[in-house]
Amino acid sequence: MTDSNTVPTGDFLADRSVMVSTECDLPEAPEKVWKALTTPELLAKWLPEANDCEILAAEPNRLLRYRWRAGEEDRDAAGRELDSVVTFELTARPSGGTHLRVDHRLLVTAPVISLVRTRQEPAACAFAGSAICLLRRAA
C-alpha cells in the first residue's frame, strides 16, 4: 500500500447509516480514472463486483454512485442481504492528477438488527463496546 491512501474509517452516522470511507491521490487525470470506473473490461480487473450494479447517479469525470450488490458475507444474522451504496467522487488536482474519495454506506434498517439468540461470549462484548463508542460519537 502506498502512503497516499488514507486509512478507512468506519462510522455510525447520525442519519442511521454506517459508512466506510477512504481516499487517495492518483497521478492520472479524472478522465482516465472515470474510464477505469465505467469500462466493464477495466472494471473487471479491479472491481468486478461493480459490473452489474444499478447506477444511481453518474456525472462524468466527477461522481459515480451505485447500489452495491451484497456479497455472500454481507448478510445479517437471519441471512438477509445488507443493502449498501458506493459513491466515487473525483476531484481534479492542480498537478493534473485526481483526488479520489470512496464512500461506502450501509443503510441500517430493521432486518439488520434481527433477533438472534446465541450464547454470549466475551469477544462479542468487546465488539459491542466498540459499536457503542461509535454510536456515542453519532448521538
Partner: protein
C-alpha cells in the same frame, strides 16, 4: 424501508440510560432490581428501557419462577461491526488494484 420504531437500533441506543443499561448487561446477567441499583430512575422506567432493548433484539429475558433476569445480546450488533471491518480492508486493497489498472491504460 423505514425501520419500525421498536426495532430501531439507533434510536434505541441513542438514549444514554438505555445505552448504560445495555452496557451493564453486557458484563453480566441481572434482575431489574439489581439493575436499578446503579441508576437514579424508577424501576418502572428501567422496565420500560428493558422492553425497548428487547424489542430491538439487544437484550433477552430468562425467567426463573417469579424472577426475570436480563442479559445483553451483543450479537445483534455483529452484522454491522463485521460489515465495517470487511470493507475497511476491502477498499484499500481494491484501490491498489485500480492504481495498477490505471498505469496500464493507454494515454
Amino acid at each position: 424501508m423505514p425501520a419500525a420504531p421498536e426495532t430501531d437500533l439507533f434510536r434505541t441506543l441513542a438514549d444514554p440510560t438505555r445505552r448504560a443499561v445495555f452496557e451493564r448487561l453486557c458484563r453480566q446477567e441481572m434482575s431489574v432490581s439489581e439493575l436499578k441499583a446503579g441508576f437514579a430512575v424508577s424501576q418502572p422506567a428501567i422496565s420500560q428501557h428493558l422492553a425497548t432493548l428487547r424489542g430491538a433484539g439487544l437484550v433477552s429475558e430468562r425467567r426463573e419462577g417469579r424472577f426475570a433476569y436480563y442479559r445483553a445480546e451483543p450479537e445483534a450488533l455483529k452484522a454491522l461491526v463485521d460489515w465495517v471491518d470487511r470493507y475497511r480492508s476491502f477498499w484499500p486493497e481494491r484501490l491498489e488494484r485500480l492504481k495498477t489498472v490505471l498505469k496500464d491504460i493507454e494515454p
